[in-house]
């Protein structure tokens, strides 16, 4: 028995403006209950793709399939019951309360004059409730904060009772609190309503956490699509955004500025995350530095690797050996100063304690926060 097409599927889609293609060979299939997140640099065509699958733009070639066949076969009114969207466009409807804005989502279901029935009113109320937007329901939409507006726009989309939800950067302009809350709400809606969601996000760390599928949009096509763990590994992300492999840590989602150029001037003895502040300080002052001796499993390993000009490490869960000690000593010899960010040294970390004594003997030890290189 042939399975009925569910969710939204793009097949060899070509999208662009006025016949000029922006993205080619776009293929994906988002099933109900899944979130597909588009990531990629600014101007790579994420919005173009989202506009094309919501019929804001004509597709150039290929097809989009929904439950009842191709999207082209849907009338505007029928499509409205299938698919709702939230764009980045900021609307400023005059004299409309948030409740009025949410109620516009009932448009495909109301009669000739768009008067809401009792059932419609209830659905508006429910949508406001599920997005925690009741408190602003009767305030003017133009007067509420960006975060609340985004909640209201999501409630509006949900009110439209779609099977497919398209969101263009739902978290832009929002502070952390709202970012988390909006994404949590989207996740909840996906589960409760069994929605298929296609959205674009700039926050890679959040994309990694919230998505079932991630697609890398690189300005020509979807370069790679897969589960987050397939995308957030290796140098896929660094390549997509054209940054150095160290600039983005796929595990923690941290981003790092460029390391200072030149021979190391300072040696940092760190570990367990204690050294991160010193790395950032040195990077800001543009002082090249060396660091060590770190385990490759240490939480600050990625930061050190991204920012230090030289790094002395041991493989995770291996003891520090003579070889590494010698290397570290040599770096201390070559540096002008040495900073230690550790307060105590455990039994397996005696080597770093020795390094500190060595630096002190050499007269290179400075306290963390001292900046002798500034004059």
């Amino acid at each position: 028995m042939e399975e009925k097409m569910q969710g939204i599927r793009a097949s060899d889609l070509v999208v662009g403006y006025e016949g000029k293609s922006v993205l080619k060979d776009v293929n994906f299939w988002v099933r109900p209950g899944q979130i597909l997140t588009l990531i990629g640099p600014n101007g790579s065509g994420k919005s173009t793709l989202l506009k094309s699958i919501t019929r804001q733009l004509k597709t150039i070639a290929g097809q989009v399939y929904l439950a009842e066949g191709t999207m082209d076969a849907y009338t505007d009114a029928a499509l409205a019951k299938q698919m709702a969207m939230v764009t980045t466009e900021r609307i400023s409807p005059e004299l409309m309360t948030c409740r009025d804005v949410v109620a516009t989502g009932r448009y495909p279901y109301t009669g000739r004059f768009g008067v809401l029935g009792k059932e419609d009113e209830e659905k508006v109320q429910k949508a406001l409730e599920s997005l925690h937007a009741l408190e602003v329901a009767d305030r003017l939409f133009a007067k509420v904060s960006d975060g609340q507006r985004q909640r209201v726009m999501l409630a509006r989309a949900i009110c439209q009772e779609p099977k497919i939800l398209i969101l263009d950067e739902p978290t832009s302009y929002l502070d952390m609190h709202y970012k988390l809350e909006i994404l949590q709400s989207i996740r909840n809606m996906v589960k409760e309503e069994n929605l298929a969601v296609v959205m674009s996000l700039h926050e890679l760390d959040l994309a990694q956490k919230v998505s079932d599928l991630v697609a890398c949009v690189d300005g020509e096509t979807i370069a790679k699509i897969g589960r987050p763990e397939e995308i957030f590994c290796g140098d896929t992300i660094a390549c997509l955004y054209g940054v150095s492999a160290q600039a983005y840590d796929v595990v923690s989602g941290s981003m790092f500025l460029q390391k200072a150029k030149g021979e190391p001037k300072v040696f940092v003895i760190g570990g367990g995350g204690s050294g991160i502040a010193a790395y950032y300080t040195l990077q800001r002052d543009q002082i090249p530095f060396a660091a060590g001796i770190l385990s490759e499993g240490d939480v600050e390993y990625k930061a050190a690797k991204a920012l230090a000009s030289a790094l002395v490490t041991t493989p995770a869960f291996y003891p520090i050996e003579i070889r590494q000690m010698a290397q570290a000593r040599k770096w201390i010899d070559d540096c002008d100063y040495c900073i230690c960010t550790l307060d105590a040294f455990g039994p397996l970390n005696q080597a770093n304690k020795e390094l500190l004594s060595y630096a002190k003997e050499q007269g290179k030890w400075i306290r963390e926060g001292e900046k002798p290189w500034q004059k």
């Binding site: 764009t87 448009y107 439209q160």
Partner: protein
């Protein structure tokens, strides 16, 4: 909903009072008893009968319906351009209509014919569409709303200049009428015109009212309206046709009348505290009717028997409203 009913009731009462005032006052005053006698057709003779029935009644009906048409046309243009100060006058649409009517009149006069009112409306409609076409072309290039209005005013000036040019060099002495008309006035409306006005305006406003739902969706911006299932192309075409028809109709019969199209929708929105087309379209119609009737009453009676042009009155009374509105809007944005 409550505010809607209150506002509508207020407007209807105001309209009734204005009708009575307009019938009774003027260079010849008519008292209430005489008015009722004439209106109830108890007498069919005498000066009062002629003044009321042949001069004042057609004139006030024209002012009432055309005023309503102006306000609705303004509301449609504001929705279309998503610009609160759009209106048939500032966008140059009235002037475009005026120009084409002048052309049509002169062409007809030169061949010794009198132009029919239907011909006038047709010419004005085409003129409106032409000016609207220009504004639309500009609106594709010019994103900034204030700039678009400036362009509209420029288009208006060009059209007016061409009209003046033609009026100056037209040979026929009948052209004096044209000059009066081009200043904007309801005087000289007869019952035949009124019939035409009532039919045209009623049909167009009704059609607009039946489009209240998609117009409301359009207020949310094009992208969302499309997502709600609105056929944007069709809606945009209908909005242009209806607003051009309304303002063309006004210009054909009364010449260009300023600021009613901007000020009235704004006032009605403030009174009703909503921008929902379902409420605003009837509200604007009644509001436009009341304001125009009031202004025409003043134009007739202030320096009676000399009449001043209706646009002078609307400008003096309504420009402050428009300015206050714009200033408040800026404050709200800051």
């Amino acid at each position: 909903m409550k505010r809607f009913i209150v506002t509508m009731t207020g407007l209807i009462i105001a309209l009734l009072l204005l009708v009575i005032w307009n019938v009774t006052s003027g260079s010849v005053s008519v008292d209430g008893m005489q008015m009722w006698q004439v209106l109830l057709r108890q007498t069919r003779e005498g000066t009062f009968y002629h003044i009321v029935w042949d001069i004042r009644m057609p004139r006030l009906l024209a002012a009432l319906f055309l005023g309503g048409a102006l306000a609705v046309s303004g509301f449609l243009l504001q929705t279309f351009f998503q610009n609160p100060i759009a209106g048939p006058y500032v966008l140059g649409i009235s002037s475009g209509a005026k120009m084409l009517v002048a052309v049509a009149m002169i062409l007809c006069l030169e061949r010794g014919m009198q132009i029919s009112s239907l011909g006038m409306v047709a010419a004005a409609f085409i003129g409106s569409l032409l000016a609207m076409g220009f504004v639309l072309l500009l609106s594709m290039r010019v994103q900034k709303m204030s700039l678009l209005v400036v362009c509209g005013i420029m288009i208006g000036y060009i059209c007016s200049a061409i009209t003046d040019f033609m009026v100056t060099f037209a040979s026929d002495s009948n052209i004096v009428n044209l000059h009066n008309w081009s200043m904007g006035s309801f005087s000289g409306t007869d019952w035949k015109d009124v019939g035409m006005i009532v039919v045209l305006v009623t049909l167009t406003v009704l059609a607009t009212f039946f489009m209240a739902k998609p117009i409301g969706a359009y207020q949310m911006g094009e992208a969302y309206a499309r997502n709600m299932g609105v056929n944007i192309r069709l809606l945009r075409i209908l909005l242009i046709l209806l607003s051009s028809l309304l303002s063309g109709c006004v210009t054909a019969f009364a010449g260009p009348i300023s600021f009613v199209g901007i000020a009235v929708p704004h006032l009605v929105k403030q009174a009703m505290k909503t921008a929902r087309p379902l409420y605003l379209i009837p509200g604007c119609f009644l509001g436009g009717a009341a304001v125009t009737l009031f202004c025409d009453g003043i134009a007739r009676s202030l320096f009676a028997p000399t009449e001043i042009s209706i646009s002078s009155v609307t400008a003096v009374l309504l420009v402050p409203v428009v300015i206050v509105m714009m200033v408040k809007r800026e404050d709200a944005r800051a």
